[in-house]
């Protein structure tokens, strides 16, 4: 969508809005489909995304800056964030504490000792690399693509992070 069309859209031009909806509805549905269980829910998210975009005289859409990111990329982030918000709203209520068996509430004494964490032991990049590898089970190539770096850089970042963790937890664990 060109800057002119976007300006016209924000100005409230009906034809521009219709064109925008038709062009990006498929992208939004595809972006949230993996997060939702049924097609109908994805359609509800679709509607919610467009409601958010045009609410308060297109307040959210006005925050978009084509110089900083592509519209498709931004819309995907907005759509998935909206889907998560909707999921949080519709999450079933938590069970009452009295209904939970006592054995499940038992707290193990694993972390009884106070842990001294150096504030910047791992850099954000190192922490993210380890999160992707061990929490998201991503391949090195995937991590490299996400971070836009060489796979060898990912391996090196991982290696340095592990050296730091071993040095920090090594004496504690002995």
């Amino acid at each position: 969508m060109s800057d002119t069309n976007l300006a016209s859209l924000i100005a409230g031009n009906k034809a521009a809005w219709d064109g925008f909806v038709r062009h990006y509805a498929g992208l939004i549905i595809s972006a949230v489909r993996t997060l939702m269980r049924e097609g109908t829910e994805a359609e509800d998210v679709l509607q919610e995304v467009f409601v958010r975009l045009c609410k308060d005289d297109f307040r959210l859409l006005r925050t978009y800056d084509p110089a900083r990111a592509g519209l498709s990329t931004w819309l995907t982030i907005v759509a998935r964030s909206t889907a998560r918000d909707m999921q949080r709203r519709h999450r079933p209520p938590q069970s009452a504490l009295d209904d939970v068996p006592e054995r499940l509430l038992a707290v193990s004494d694993v972390h009884a000792e106070p842990l001294k964490l150096p504030k910047d032991l791992l850099s954000p990049r190192q922490e993210l690399v380890l999160t992707m590898l061990y929490e998201r089970d991503m391949e090195v190539a995937e991590v490299a693509k996400t971070l836009n770096v060489d796979p060898q850089t990912v391996r090196s970042t991982h290696h340095k992070a592990m050296l730091k963790l071993r040095a920090h937890f090594g004496p504690e664990r002995r």
């Binding site: 990329t73 954000p124 993210l128 996400t146």
Partner: protein
């Protein structure tokens, strides 16, 4: 990258760190602006700005998928959503077909038809009961005013004799 044995040990080490960080974490940082995440997904951020986003992503791993999805997003060659959904979204900005209601999903025709029949049935029943009740009441009132035999019977129905139902039999036997 590493041997399976090392990987298990490294994974355990990571989880140990992770738990410690989560326990030590104070107030949760606010989510980055969608535009900032989008710019990160397109690798357009400076190193310093990217570092802030990466710190947030590391603490909110579920959003890593959002960044991955955003990086691969293209508006072309995607599954087409239903026309009804598109029409509802279009109706959010005034000037569209006034028959389309933006916030409500249209009811299925069969459901609409059944609801209409049910409502008509209830209305007809109420009307019939009202008419029959009115006719009976009018008849009884007219008969009472005329004072004939049937009116006496009707009056007994409304105001039964105090002596009881079988009192008339007793009177006949005594005479």
């Amino acid at each position: 990258m590493t041997e399976p044995m090392d990987r298990a040990e490294e994974s355990a080490l990571w989880r140990h760190w992770r738990r410690a960080v989560v326990n030590a974490a104070g107030e949760a940082a606010a989510a980055p602006d969608p535009l900032l995440l989008a710019a990160y997904a397109e690798h357009r951020l400076s190193e310093a700005a990217a570092e802030d986003v990466e710190a947030w992503l590391a603490r909110h791993p579920e959003t890593i998928d959002d960044v991955l999805a955003a990086g691969d997003s293209k508006a072309d060659a995607l599954s087409a959503p239903p026309e009804a959904a598109i029409a509802r979204a279009m109706a959010l900005v005034p000037g569209s077909d006034p028959k389309v209601v933006p916030f409500r999903r249209p009811m299925r025709p069969t459901v609409t038809w059944r609801v209409a029949v049910a409502r008509a049935g209830v209305a007809a029943s109420l009307l019939i009961v009202s008419l029959v009740g009115f006719a009976l009441g009018t008849d009884a009132y007219t008969s009472l005013l005329n004072g004939d035999q049937s009116a006496a019977v009707s009056q007994d129905l409304f105001d039964p004799p105090a002596a009881g139902v079988f009192s008339s039999f007793g009177e006949e036997s005594s005479s």
